[in-house]
Subunit: 375 residues, 2 copies
């Protein structure tokens, strides 16, 4: 073994540099059926003191069911049931944060989200805002969060959004639907217990699963693709095909869709989504259409951009006898179309990923209107 | 939104519980060709003060090459070139730690490993031992590390071992070859820059890549398999097949093998390796055979356990015209065989993963000897 002090000639400053993301991964993950019951042990190590509670944000579909009784509350911990019928909002985050500040003398030990993408996103946003001033809408954008979030745990009960691994929390704000994208957004701990997805309705299962499938199509066909993102995206795409086409047993299907969501989330985290998400954001912003179904409503008409993906989507839709609602945009005014189109076209990185730097040559307001009119 | 205080009936204590691993993932990762040049920025944020150096442990194949000049040293940082000709040893770790303690007044800001599995493992072990007392051999085993390691970064320059994602550092100690398995072992940051693997010889590329392939075969055919591990293992297996069978271009091949290593490491992290690794540990312990080639030497004779994997291995070996050494065990004494067999049979979790709880019915000293004799 040789030990040397080397004097070093530094990097050539004239050399062109590419900047790659230094991506924050979820630093702790448990996977397995029944792993939810390890939550008590996991949280115990993170309790600051008996006055600093854990706040559990739980999808209200579980109210009165068995799951809340399995939540390992102690001391002054609190369970807050939240409806996921609407997309998560900045105002909702601000109210939750104020309520927690008012009700407790100490900053909580942590926030635990138990639910689908809406609850995941609320838990992330609340954990950020416990340590940051002002309203959550001020942090919508990229890397605007100044101070670390408090400890937060994500426990998905529907698979597909990828919100459990992403570094964003997508919120409907007063001016836009946009994520709080930051290194502090990522969960500190995720518990992947596929058994928790048992009670999901067929429609919800399909729409949320398709969110993952569409992520993968957008990521794999995007110009931002790289081998990192591709490997995750291909695996998630394969798993979606197994789950939605191969007729797996129920346990295997739940397990695999949870892993598809995980890998799909990693894939877009290191690349970007595309046309379906950009247009779906417009729908959500104007009409409050939920993200999963919004993606499906748009995606069915995107053969031009994603021919193979859309063809497979239709086969899956037929196999599971999913009827998508029609006429959503039938009675919209010109102003409303304009709003929707403007929100969608504002998602520049998504368009650039989908179609390259020259995307404005293909994507015009008239083009988007012609697609929205079909929905 | 409803806010409730719920009184909770706790988990039924009579219910049988399964314990799942709460796996520590690498919390930060950069991927991309040329991403090595972001190291300066990454480390800057972690510098404690000008007296607390970064120690760069670098494979000595890079001595005199370009790479050391690209290392972003500052202040009293030090580059230590280390030969990876031999497996990493507990004694080597202890000497390095002592040297760093003697030469610097402060605990380093961090340890950066730049090299293959040997260097990765040394960097992890040194970062642990900077904050823990005694000799590193005292920590070989599971969860024996008491205090957190110092900040450490892994930058692989050969793909396949998976050491960049694992929570172990496998060391040859006075009594055994065994990992320091702990939550503190995992790197705090990984930089995946496939360009760094450009100069690897064909043999080294093959042996280390096969380490990954064999991980996957062992994980996917093991009794510990679950959907988490399976999804990573399948992707890594597919990537290995692309790299070693499909004749990819050089850039794509390097990119994909780096991702195969990453996913393969994740797969075994959440399950376990098997027969090849158990027997290869015996070879390494007695003869100092390096891990990658040791796995290949054993694996070629494991048709009985992994028929599909071994068949594919032989096709890959032939395609790349790799000649494995012969007669390695030809002149061993009975005592030497016994030592090797005893080390191999001591790896109980590996055997249990491979063959189930009843593995001792299949695996006897005579059986292992008959395989070793072929090598």
């Amino acid at each position: 073994m040789e030990v040397k002090n080397t004097s070093i000639l530094k990097n050539d400053p004239t050399k062109k540099k590419v900047e790659y993301k230094n991506f924050p991964m979820v630093p702790r993950v448990v996977f397995g059926n029944g792993s939810f019951d390890q939550l008590g042990t996991i949280l115990m190590a993170k309790r600051k003191n008996s006055e600093a509670p854990f706040i559990f944000l739980v999808d209200d579909v579980f109210e009165g069911k068995e799951l809340p009784y399995r939540i390992p509350t102690m001391f002054n911990d609190r369970i807050v049931f939240i409806s996921a019928d609407e997309e998560p909002k900045t105002n909702q985050v601000d109210v939750l944060v104020q309520k927690i500040r008012d009700d407790f003398s100490e900053i909580p030990s942590g926030i635990v989200g138990i639910g689908g993408g809406t609850i995941m996103d609320l838990a992330k946003a609340v954990s950020i805002m416990m340590n940051n001033e002002g309203s959550s809408y001020e942090y919508q954008g990229w890397d605007l969060v100044k101070k670390p979030s408090i400890y937060h745990v994500g426990i998905p009960t529907i698979s597909g959004t990828g919100a459990e691994v992403s570094r964003t929390t997508v919120l409907l704000g007063p001016e836009r639907k946009l994520g709080i994208n930051s290194d502090y957004t990522t969960f500190d701990q995720v518990v992947l217990d596929p058994d928790l997805t048992k009670g999901v309705s067929k429609e919800q299962w399909f729409y949320t699963g398709m969110d993952c499938f569409i992520h993968c199509v957008e990521s794999l066909n995007g110009t931002y693709l790289n081998a990192f993102s591709q490997s995750y995206g291909e695996k998630a795409y394969e798993l979606c095909k197994e789950v939605f086409l191969d007729g797996l047993g129920e346990t295997e299907s739940r397990d695999k869709l949870m892993m598809a969501s995980w890998h799909g989330g990693m894939s877009i985290a290191y690349s970007q989504v595309g046309v379906a998400h950009a247009m779906s954001y417009g729908l959500s912003y104007l009409l409050g259409v939920k993200h999963g179904i919004g993606n499906c409503l748009v995606f069915q008409y995107l053969e031009e951009f994603y021919p193979e993906g859309v063809a497979l989507f239709k086969i899956m839709q037929e196999k599971h006898q999913i009827e998508l609602p029609k006429g959503i945009c039938a009675n919209l005014s010109e102003d409303e179309f304009e709003t929707m189109i403007s929100v969608a076209m504002g998602m520049e990185p998504l368009w650039e990923n989908a179609l390259g730097k020259e995307w404005r040559k293909t994507i015009t307001p008239a083009k988007l209107k012609s697609i929205y009119e079909k929905i």
